[in-house]
Amino acid sequence: MHSIPGRRVIMALFLIFLLLPIYWLVNMSFKTNTEIVTTMTLWPHAPTLQHYKRIFTDESWYSGYINSLEYVVLNTIISIAVALPAAYAFSRYRFLGDKHLFFWLLSNRMAPAAVYALPFFNLYSAIGLFDTPWAVALAHCIFNVPLAVWILEGFVSGVPREIDETAFLDGYSFPRFFIKILVPLIASGIGVAAFFCFMFSWVELLLARTLTSVNAKPIAAVMTRTVSAAGMDWGLLAAAGVLTIIPGALVIWFVRNYIARGFALGRV
């Protein structure tokens, strides 16, 4: 009763629709540029690894990946660390201005990055963080912290309050209760929140590009600049694109059992 007639066909068609453009990208990345431009082939007839080789040996390319991962990891750690206590507070207590604060946080998740690009540029230049991973990591907090609070609040609310009370009766101090009892209980929620912080920080380009110039340039910006230099190097562009999909795919695999609940932000 769960499903509808013809569901296998619908699902298969939809998955093909999702995978076909990705396949085309992968296909391109293994072709030589002559093959791309001169012929239309459904699979690489003369498969080559030259584009991948170039990315892994040219520092301006592979440092882009390292820079991106650096600020994404920093951002995920900061977001989760500050969001955990706040999520607990929102879930358990009522305090002055709580609803307004929650709405204000949520509204920041929705604020367009384009609005903040220029002020962020001024702000981080003024405090000397421009062109460091910290600038991007902090800038991405504007949408990731509210999201992390929102997700974690849902998961904390799923933990019965009796557990807190029992722990306090047993003489646990608040920090000890938090680390020893609460965090393990919502471990899957933390995983999901971390997944989302990783995801949104990884996919964002506008702020990351605006806040960096040379030293911390993310891979996405490397792709937009290098490629247009001497005509279109389609094969290289495709190979770089394929490599940006891999971290995401790995992360999905780890949280696959929680994806559905996570996407509902812990609120099902």
Binding site: M1, H2, S3, I4, P5, R7, I10, M11, L15, L18, L20, W24, I36, V37, M40, L42, I78, A81, V82, A86, A89, Y93, R94, F95, F103, L106, S107, N108, R109, M110, A111, P112, A113, A114, L118, N122, L123, L138, C141, V145, V149, E153, W202, V203, L205, L206, M223, T224, W234, G241, I245, G248, A249, I252, W253, A260, F263, A264, L265, V268
Partner: protein
Amino acid sequence: MDKTINQKAWFLVLPVFLVVAFSAILPLMTVVNYSMQDTFGNNQFFWNGVGWFKELLDPSTDLGGRFLASLGRNLFFSGVILAIEVPLGIVVALSMPREGWSVAACLVILALPLLIPWNVVGTIWQIFGRPDIGLLGYVLNNIGINYNYVSNEIDAWVTVIVMDVWHWTSLVALLCYAGLKSIPDAYYQAAQIDGASRWAVFRAIQLPKMHRVLLIAVLLRFMDSFMIYTEPFVVTGGGPGNSTTFISIELVKIALGQFDLGKAAALSLVYNLIILIVCWVFYTVMTNAGTDRPAKEGAA
């Protein structure tokens, strides 16, 4: 389960408040400051009062015309993709396999487009849609449809919309799937005993249970499509002409392209205000929808 009143909870919220205030309030103040001034370079600023705002809301000026045109395009875009993605997402969620390894496989493939950097999404569709090297463009042109998203406005629009459907329908589907999973089997058994039709099951059981997640889905999709920037920028660059120039693209053009700080700031504030209002409406609806579950009330 009533929440206890405890003002000390503010200490727990303080770190979040500080981090977000640093990233949100400080820059926003800069924007407010700029929006009231005019600049002729060299860091010289002149007081302009509400001049930019007046210009912005007056369609006869250059700024106002561009703003209102891009706002219209953006609203149309959001409307179209919501009309496609929400029903399609529900259908896909209902089509999910029930058990076994195929569930995990489908979930992973569904989530894949969501984790691709936005500019790469643009690149993928650029490569896929080009008439000379792209599979889609090549096939379409060879079966006699003249398709070229670089020069034809309608083709550009179709490409941007299909790209967004490709990119984000999974989000709606995964949210709905999460909602469907929470329905106990007993509901379906009861429906079977009553001899309910497939449609009745959907209307009376599945849709109400998906109500909350659908609201989240519509909220997220509306907001994200309303501030879309990277994907259309990579694929069409806002063109041909201005036909796919959305508000964010217009804003970045004015702010970082022309360095017209005053205009850009005024546009930013109005843009933010629209988002804030829509967000508030959704938030209120969502909080009210949650009142049947008191545990979530207030914070959810």
